[in-house]
């Protein structure tokens, strides 16, 4: 095992059971600081349950994990302070303005009011939303909402950001702009943990893991996975692995 400083996520035999059902079955992996980590799996493969554990929202049944330097059992509150989260469904408050949303989320992460002001101005400028700062978020197109949501998810400079299908339904150009933002966040040292149904996006990740039936079946760089299975795209790799799932019903 590498030194903890180099890893923002280490999980060892992490398991979650609900009664007889093992949703997540002893997954073991590590994620480096600043890495873009793709977390793939079919619906029902256990992705959501795993993410909930990693975010400190639900306690594992067994196994160990250290997230952002904190123990998953003993320090879930510290974990929450040091991560960011955004999902397809997490779409800001439509009835608050762009500025108010930024202020609110910066506020709940305990940023000082001068900091909030500075970052809010910088963020609005970066996204080109100067003319929209005082408009309600509900009026923005989906792609902009998602970009804004991502910017807000990392406003407190978290060590890790979890992205759950962040680009679902977004047009192809905006989707690429979104990935541009992910890259620059990773370049600043933020670890990115991302799920997606667009398998071409899996190619943008540094490493990709594939969950099948609660187990982590494989984990490697996209190139290595394609070479290993001798398939041309990540889509083919995914189909090849997931099609053998027993939990399809």
């Amino acid at each position: 095992m590498l030194k903890p400083a180099e890893h923002t996520i280490t999980a060892k035999n992490l398991t979650k059971t609900f009664g007889d059902f093992t949703a997540v079955d002893a997954i073991t992996f590590e994620v480096k600081k600043g890495e873009i980590f793709g977390f793939l799996g079919a619906n029902g493969a256990g992705k959501t349950t795993a993410i909930k554990m990693l975010c400190g929202l639900s306690s594992p049944s067994s196994g160990e994990a250290n997230i952002a330097g904190f123990d998953i059992y003993k320090q879930p509150e510290d974990i929450k302070k040091n991560i960011g989260y955004m999902s397809q469904h997490f779409s800001l408050y439509g009835d608050l303005t762009v500025e108010e949303n930024i202020r609110f989320y910066a506020g709940i992460y305990g940023l000082k009011s001068t900091e909030i002001k500075e970052r809010s101005v910088a963020l609005i400028k970066e996204l080109g939303l100067e003319n929209y700062a005082k408009r309600f978020v509900a009026e923005l197109p989906l792609g902009w909402k998602q970009k804004l949501a991502f910017s807000i998810a990392i406003i407190h400079n978290p060590k890790i950001v979890f992205l759950d299908e962040p680009t679902s339904g977004v047009d192809p150009i905006t989707r690429r702009q979104f990935w541009g933002m992910i890259y620059s966040a990773a370049a600043k040292g933020i670890t990115v943990f991302v799920t997606t149904h667009y398998l071409d996006e899996a190619e943008y990740c540094d490493r990709v893991s594939i969950m099948v039936d609660g187990e982590m079946r494989d984990l490697d760089t996209p190139t290595a996975l394609r070479t290993k299975y001798n398939l041309p795209t990540m889509n083919d790799v995914f189909l090849h692995m997931a099609v053998r799932s027993k939990r399809s019903e």
């Binding site: 799996g41 079919a42 619906n43 029902g44 493969a45 397809q88 080109g128 939303l129 003319n131 929209y132 923005l140 197109p141 989906l142 792609g143 902009w144 299908e165 679902s168 339904g169 977004v170 047009d171 192809p172 150009i173 905006t174 690429r176 990935w179 541009g180 890259y183 620059s184 370049a187 149904h197 667009y198 398998l199 071409d200 190619e203 943008y204 996209p222 190139t223 795209t233 990540m234 889509n235 995914f238 189909l239 997931a242 099609v243 799932s245 939990r247 399809s248 019903e249």
Partner: protein
């Protein structure tokens, strides 16, 4: 079979659909391809008589969807975008209910849904809410088919569904098409476009292009260069800073550059090397649907900007 003529529809100030016309032939598998908010659901709702257009008209088998709405309702099978069945009813109960309200029985049209429904039968008593995403989809499709509609209208049936279930779903559509069902389907996934007979690319309520997937690709008006063996983001930055190569988009480990006819592979190589990238590989490639969509978006100035 289905003809849209100059359809307009606004919600308040928001123009959801603007002057859309297209037609779908009998037995065709027609795809409406575009992101969320492009106007796909609005068009389908107008066709299925659930929504009225502000102007323009839609004909279904020669009948107007407003005046003859009853005829359309009897002959269309519709699966709405957010449709999720009755969660507290079992698989059999759901199907039985939809069969009855459409004045038919499961037995009567069993032949049409047999292949799909057989996969569900082992779970006949399970509540729809307890099914997996893929299974729910199959049940929803069975419910939409139960009255043997002439036209099947599916609004984003594969949205948020994993790649395996999506593939299965498209296989089902293919076999339905073989049985002669006309199918209109919408999707935000560009890779599904290739599975349709003809497609309409739609963005911000406007049709960008209508053609066969092959025809759309052939109409790509620019040169496509594929850049590989580079670090994606530095390369993108280098390319975007040059006006001749500014339409550069990542595709996995490669970058696609849309350039005009006078640009050469060597010129692009030069741009990359000037940007500090070593040994980039540049070759001429054939575009896919997503390339065409993005190129049309850029040229139609229909990027999703906040300056709507």
């Amino acid at each position: 079979m289905v003809e849209f003529h100059n359809i307009n529809k606004s919600y308040g100030e928001n123009e959801a659909v603007k002057d859309v016309s297209f037609s779908v032939g009998e037995g065709e598998l027609f795809g409406l391809i575009g992101p969320d908010g492009a106007g796909k659901s609005t068009l389908f709702r107008i066709l299925t008589t659930v929504l009225l257009a502000d102007s323009g008209n839609v004909l279904f088998n020669g009948k107007d969807v407003v005046a003859d709405y009853k005829y359309i309702r009897e002959n269309v099978g519709y699966m709405p975008g957010k449709f999720s069945l009755y969660q507290d009813l079992s698989v059999t109960e759901n199907l039985k209910f939809f069969a009855t309200i459409f004045n038919t029985t499961i037995d009567e049209n069993y032949e049409l849904i047999k292949d799909i429904y057989q996969q569900l039968e082992p779970f006949g008593n399970r509540k729809a809410g307890a099914l997996s995403g893929g299974m729910k989809q199959k049940l929803a499709l069975s419910c939409a088919l139960i009255h043997k509609p002439k036209v099947l209208v599916l609004d984003e049936p594969t949205f948020g569904v994993d790649a395996v279930s999506r593939k299965e779903f498209w296989d089902m559509l293919k076999s339905l098409k073989a049985k002669g069902v006309t199918i209109l389907v919408s999707t935000p996934y560009m890779d599904e476009a290739e599975l349709c007979d003809r497609i309409a690319l739609i963005q911000k309520g406007r049709i960008l292009d209508i053609n066969t997937p092959k025809g759309i690709v052939e109409q790509f008006e620019r040169q496509l260069f594929i850049v590989s063996n580079v670090a994606i983001y530095p390369a993108l930055q280098a390319l975007e800073n040059n006006p001749a190569t500014q339409n550069a988009y990542s595709f996995g480990q490669e970058i696609h550059v849309y350039a005009d006819e006078i640009t050469s592979a060597n010129a692009i190589k030069q741009v990359l090397e000037n940007g500090g990238l070593k040994n980039p590989e540049v070759s001429v490639g054939t575009p896919n649907i997503e390339d065409c969509f993005m190129d049309l978006m850029v040229r139609g100035n229909l990027e999703e900007s906040a300056h709507a």
